[in-house]
């Protein structure tokens, strides 16, 4: 438990640090935060008034403490463009993005690890080089370009999949999804509204694939490399010397050893998933936080930007925290350290 406690405390510290960075980015860097706040067109007088109300004239540390309290109380400020509370904007869009990330992570893990393991099994042979090229292409593929290509090919030319959007528009009328958890596809599954589920999945395929490309590449390369490294270690030689079957050695002994580093990479690759949503949601105009983030970035909607950055940091920390727990379960050495 002691390990858990200091993991939690270090996560909290990092969160604090992250909020400090977003604060400095927003308040310190731009020459006049007030202008940034109300937009360049406003008059000097309005800006001056605003500066007082926002307390921008106080010394930075006090502003920071005030900012912290507000954030904790849920007052993440008001989005300039939509005039709604930032927190509200985010919570309404969160489900769409989370579902997209979950599916993308699913694809990446499923495809990445299986192909990585397969490539390691047939090292040096034809399958190995094909998978290696596929993986390195995945890592080198700009997500926005891949999105456009898939859109043009599968949605445009072949029309197998819808080009944009989370659901068909008419779905709202003939098969509305009753909101339970707020996650559309998940709710539709629970409520048995399989028609909506199917439609949702149909929309999900292309964006999720696009988003998962980078992580797929990362995971399959890591899985392959790790497995090969474990296969060269002494204990595999010993297992062979004791007549254990090649299958048992590869799939049980070696794979279990290669899992912890693969799990770590999954944690790391989630960073690319989070930022990836910015582009994928734009290309498929997916109603998630990604597109909202891009708009607020372009319109320098600073409260929204601060909120999104904080959310992303929390999300990334959460995923890495979970990864740590899983890893300590998989590898006894880690837990006892």
């Amino acid at each position: 438990m002691k390990v858990l406690r200091n993991r939690l405390s270090s996560a909290f510290l990092v969160l604090l640090g992250a909020s400090f960075i977003t604060f400095t980015l927003a308040r310190v860097i731009p020459n006049d935060p007030a202008l940034a706040y109300i937009g360049p067109k406003a008059t000097a007088a309005e800006a001056a008034k605003l500066r007082i109300t926002l307390g921008l004239d106080q010394p930075i540390p006090i502003q920071y403490v005030k900012y912290l309290f507000q954030t904790l109380q849920g007052n993440w400020g008001y989005s300039l463009s939509t005039k709604q509370s930032v927190l509200q904007e985010i919570t309404s869009r969160l489900p769409a993005t989370l579902e997209l990330i979950t599916f993308a992570m699913g694809f990446a893990l499923l495809l990445g690890i299986t192909l990585g393991v397969y490539a390691a099994k047939y090292r040096g042979r034809f399958q190995d080089s094909v998978i290696r090229i596929l993986a390195i292409a995945g890592v080198s593929m700009p997500a926005f370009w891949l999105g456009l290509l898939l859109q043009m090919l599968f949605a445009g030319r072949l029309a197998w999949f819808p080009a944009t959007g989370e659901f068909d528009i008419e779905l709202k009328y003939d098969h509305p999804i009753t909101k339970i958890t707020g996650f559309p596809i998940f709710d539709s599954i629970i409520t048995g509204n399989y028609h909506a589920t199917l439609n949702g999945l149909h929309h999900m395929i292309l964006p999720a694939l696009t988003l998962s490309a980078y992580s797929f590449g990362l995971l399959s390369r890591m899985a392959r490399a790790n497995l090969l490294e474990v296969m060269s270690q002494d204990h595999v030689k010993v297992a062979r010397a004791y007549g254990l079957s090649e299958r048992l050695i590869f799939f049980k002994l070696a794979l279990r050893n290669a899992l912890p580093p693969i799990v770590t990479v999954t944690g790391m690759s989630s960073a690319y998933l989070i930022t990836g949503t910015f582009f994928v949601e734009q290309v498929y105009n997916w109603p998630g936080i990604g597109s909202f983030a891009v708009n607020s970035l372009l319109s320098i909607d600073y409260p929204a930007i601060m909120g999104i950055t904080l959310l992303a940091a929390i999300g990334y920390l959460l995923i890495n925290f979970i990864v740590d727990i899983i890893q300590s379960k998989l590898d006894p050495r880690v837990w006892l350290q």
Binding site: G17, L25, P142, R224, A312
Partner: protein
Amino acid sequence: MKFLFKDKLTSVASLILLLFVTLAIFGPWIAPFPKEGAGASHVDNSYIGPGWHHLLGTDELGRDLLSRIIYGARPALFIALAVVGFAAIIGTLLGLIAGYRGGWIDNVIMRVSELFLSFPSLLLSLVAVTFLGPGLVNALIALIISWWPWYARLIRVEASIVKSKPYVEISAAMGVPGRTIVLRHILRNVTTPLIVQIAADLGTVILAAGSLAFIGLGSQPPSADWGLMVAQGRNLIFDQWWISTFSGLAIFLAVLAFNILGDALRDHFDPRIARQ
């Protein structure tokens, strides 16, 4: 340098890189329509598909897409080299100090880098460039901000490994001043992992810069920037597909080539197994 052509894959990558660098340097002399490459619009022949006259077709302002892509090579290479260059220098400096000095300096530097690394690095760059204002130079600075910590951590780890080696301990015991030890012994022995990381990062930086440009936070029109060109062709993807496709392809090939080179370098220096 024969490892550049050790197998088919690597040799193709090396050729692509060679092409990329020559385009970046001699772009203006090679491009079929240098003026359009630089940005002059030619409205009457916009949206011409790929054909003899315009190999890759023309964009929404009638500019020859091939020349635009050729002109786009220079900023892409420039931003890659600049970002990785600066990030590596800053990171190596801090990493060396942290690695050799140890103690509280080490803690401070490492805590700060960990803080930066606890963010998805691209997000940090996006936020930074938003507040710095769009533009190539600001994008460059934003990327450097979020990239140096990778190098700080890498060099610190490698430096502490080298520091524990007997030849460093012997020099220290002989009374060789700290500065010389860092320069003569430690720096020269961390160059290998540094080079491998740089080669692998060049591709990733082009990818990141392209993403910034795609959103519109990179270089602004009319300058030829691949990411920007993909964005400009975005809404025309179903009809004038070639605009986004070919400019995106340019990014992909450049990044792919650098990544393959990164792998080849890693195998060359640490031949045990090709690891990520």
